[in-house]
């Protein structure tokens, strides 16, 4: 991703919209006993298209905004989401991410990672109550719902960020390998 004000503005607006949408709407929609979570989705999507640095920055910013908006332990979400953004970004930098269904797996992994890591941090910091095993059901449901949302959501994020991407490696790799051709003298011949 090109480090510019324009890029920062787009990422910032995406993050702000995702946080507001999550706390105002999505979190209140209960499906199968759980709800979707746009927070790890937006961080993972930015990291996939922007890389590890952009992912870590987006994760940190999203976490801070979330903690501020909800009055949670300041720094907890940002710590976890920094890790999520960096991890997804590194994965995108090191692996072939051209497969069309990859967002589904990334969304599920990011959701599970975010929920478990945040749970672990909460447990270490200030959790005093007993924990029900049903929390794992909620994590699973959230993971599934995020996986369902992944394709359209990632496509939307990609569309927003396309103008500020240094190179859209996902699209580039999707174009496929160039046809092999023989020596110049033999081009066009069925050899």
């Amino acid at each position: 991703m090109i480090a510019s004000r324009k890029a920062a503005l787009r990422v910032g607006l995406l993050v702000l919209a995702a946080v507001l949408l999550q706390v105002s709407v999505v979190a209140q929609i209960n499906i199968l006993g759980g709800s979707a979570d746009l927070i790890p989705l937006v961080v993972a999507a930015i990291a996939l298209y922007g890389g590890s640095v952009a992912g870590a920055a987006a994760g940190f910013a999203t976490g801070i905004l979330l903690d501020l908006a909800l009055g949670m332990s300041l720094g907890g979400s940002s710590l976890v989401l920094t890790g999520v953004g960096y991890g997804v970004g590194r994965f995108a930098e090191l692996r072939d991410v051209s497969h069309g269904l990859l967002p589904i797996a990334l969304a599920a992994a990011a959701s599970a990672g975010y929920d478990l890591a945040y749970g672990a941090i909460t447990f270490m910091l200030d959790l005093e109550a007993a924990v029900s095993a049903l929390v794992f059901r909620d994590i699973l449901v959230g993971m599934l719902l995020n996986a369902v949302l992944a394709l359209p959501f990632f496509a939307f994020v990609r569309r927003v960020l396309r103008a500020v991407l240094r190179a859209d490696h996902v699209a580039r790799r999707r174009r496929g390998r160039p046809r092999e051709a023989g020596p110049i003298g033999l081009r066009g011949l069925e050899v």
Partner: protein, 297 residues
């Protein structure tokens, strides 16, 4: 193509900076009091964001409702089945409770009627449950679950908790048939209280809520609402009445006075709810020293 060392260092530095910043924030946030800097910033941010959140929540309520509707529909299917089962259980419980209450009410009626001053003494009531009812519209007879084996004999009077119901017309060791006072062949000698005007109670066929008290002398001034009880005299052949004196029959609801007739006819609303009764008592002949008491059928 691999990134150069500078890029790698920069990337790691960024990660380390964000992680350190997060840890520092956490440390300070937990370490400071509620009025600390970070808490104050957090409260300020919430104040700024809350109107935006409220606006977003209101603006996107239709979206939320639409999506929630889908979940609700899925959940409602399961809930519908559960509630149907629950309604079935509750209906059964309610029916049981109502039946029990109704039975208790009717049995209490027997005790109440037996305490009346006018109630005939020297009888031993046998409480019985209705096991069959005439299917015709005439409401002429019912069958009860007590018979000759319980001391029930033909022509013994049958009452409900409210008043006279009929008389026994046939018995088996375990059952008895009761001809109701609404049967077309029924006739009961009765009198209007307190004047004591005598007459014969006859059914008005087809209307179990309207009995006729015939042969009442015209000179008797009967008013609506007066009580009619059995008089203890026979309606035919001058024989002793099978109905002992004092069993309540009904209440006068209308008086027919025809100029041409010698007698006047009274319309009586029977006390006994013949359509709804579940228990009756057969007034059997009392054994020596026996007292009238209510026993469960």
């Amino acid at each position: 193509m691999y990134p150069d060392r500078k890029t790698i260092r920069r990337r790691r530095a960024v990660l380390a900076a964000f992680v350190l910043a997060s840890v520092a924030l956490l440390t300070v946030w937990f370490g400071e009091p509620m009025g600390g800097v970070l808490h104050t910033i957090q409260r300020g941010a919430q104040e700024i964001l809350s109107p935006i959140q409220t606006g977003a929540s209101r603006a996107l309520k239709p979206v939320r409702d639409t999506v929630a509707w889908t979940g609700d529909t899925i959940r409602a299917k399961g809930e519908n089945k559960r509630l149907r089962d629950e309604v079935g259980h509750l209906r059964r419980d309610l029916a049981t409770a109502q039946t029990t209450g109704r039975d208790a009410e009717q049995l209490a009626g027997f005790a109440a009627i037996a305490r009346r001053e006018t109630f005939p003494s020297g009888t031993e009531p046998v409480t019985a449950r209705l096991i069959a009812r005439s299917p015709t519209v005439w409401w002429s007879s019912v069958q009860i679950n007590k018979g000759s084996g319980d001391g029930i004999r033909i022509d013994q009077p049958v009452i409900t908790g409210d008043g006279l119901a009929g008389k026994v017309t046939s018995t088996t060791p375990g059952t008895a048939t009761v001809r109701l006072i609404t049967d077309e062949r029924s006739s009961v000698s009765a009198q209007v209280m307190p004047e004591g005007a005598d007459g014969i109670v006859r059914p008005k066929v087809g209307n179990p809520n309207d009995l006729l008290l015939d042969y009442v002398e015209k000179g008797s001034k009967i008013k609506q609402g007066q009580t009619v009880v059995t008089s203890g005299f026979s309606a035919s052949r001058g024989l002793e009445s099978i109905f002992p004196r004092g069993i309540p029959v009904g209440r006068v609801k209308k008086v027919d006075r025809s100029e041409l007739d010698i007698y006047q006819t009274l319309h009586i609303q029977p006390f006994a709810e013949l359509k709804r009764m579940d228990f009756v008592q057969v007034l059997t002949a009392a054994r020596s020293g026996a007292r009238a008491e209510v026993t469960s059928p």
